[in-house]
């Protein structure tokens, strides 16, 4: 599945299903299980209906009644404003959603490690 058409075209996977939603919603909208079921079901049908390498299904779902959300993506809010880098500063410490998550993970590590965390060529965090 993808919500970034140009990137997926560049990566060139054998098959894909494109959903024209904002990033962070590749498989649907929050708390809309019916809609999400249609989206994922339609994406999966590509495994049965696409027979040419490089084909992409264009899923028919729309994020909103109009496409205005697209205008502001990665762009300054007005012509006089500067581009800003909204991404978070990057460092190599775990970035927990909550402090409670951190406490649970650290307790798990203290008990002997996280069996379902797999680090490849990096040392454990």
């Amino acid at each position: 599945m993808t919500s970034a058409l140009s990137i997926t075209r560049a990566v060139n996977p054998p098959r894909a299903a494109y959903l024209d939603f904002p990033l962070g919603h590749t498989a649907g909208k929050p708390h809309q299980p019916r809609l999400n079921r249609y989206i994922v079901r339609d994406a999966l049908t590509g495994f049965e209906t696409l027979h040419q390498p490089g084909q992409m299904l264009m899923l028919p779902y729309e994020w909103a009644d109009d496409d205005a959300w697209k205008d502001g993506v990665m762009r300054p809010r007005s012509p006089t404003e500067q581009h800003d880098d909204s991404r978070v500063e990057r460092d190599a410490t775990p970035q927990y959603q909550t402090e409670h998550d951190r406490a649970l993970a650290e307790a798990e590590l203290a008990r002997g490690g996280c069996a379902t965390c797999v680090w490849l060529d990096e040392p454990g965090a």
Partner: protein, 164 residues
């Protein structure tokens, strides 16, 4: 009103943003050759379906991802409630993924499709990583082959990839 604007071209917008910020251009992965083709060997209704997502999903009790070329991944038990899933990522708005992880990691959605019989089953293990990895060499050389080995070992017939 129906869709009036073309798909957002993230490559072009990233180029513009990087240029405005004075960064060197981002090197997107471009594969001229197609990946090897494999037809589905049986109907979806008989397939064990796997799930791999790059939206930075982890489960409470697991170590969260960090934001500096983290090539690690988490094994997620698809039979456990998705209310214990969390999301962490530096490059997209996490609000909705934190409210309902199914938007980037559709476990409930796939479990529902399995209950209905649209797919044969959802594999017991799904895999999650944080896709903001700037080294495509490490993804290609380490992470992708490791995930591929795992899903083959899990006996899945087909895998849904859900990037962000």
């Amino acid at each position: 009103m129906p869709s009036t604007r073309p798909p957002v071209d993230y490559i072009e917008r990233t180029r513009d943003q990087y240029s405005a910020l004075g960064y060197p251009p981002y090197q997107w992965v471009e594969n001229a050759e197609l990946a090897p083709w494999a037809e589905l060997a049986k109907p979806l209704s008989q397939c064990r379906v796997g799930l791999i997502g790059s939206g930075g999903i982890y489960k409470t009790g697991q170590v969260a991802f960090h934001y500096k070329d983290d090539t690690s991944f988490r094994i997620i038990d698809t039979r456990e409630p998705t209310s214990t899933l969390r999301a962490t990522h530096f490059a997209y708005d996490l609000t909705d993924a934190r409210s309902d992880p199914n938007v980037v990691f559709p476990i409930d959605t796939l479990n529902e499709l399995a209950r209905e019989g649209f797919i044969g089953s959802l594999a017991e293990r799904a895999y999650a990583f944080m896709g903001g990895i700037y080294s495509s060499r490490r993804v290609r050389g380490r992470l992708a082959p490791e995930l591929a080995n795992r899903i083959v070992r899990d006996g899945v017939d087909v895998v849904l990839l859900v990037p962000v």
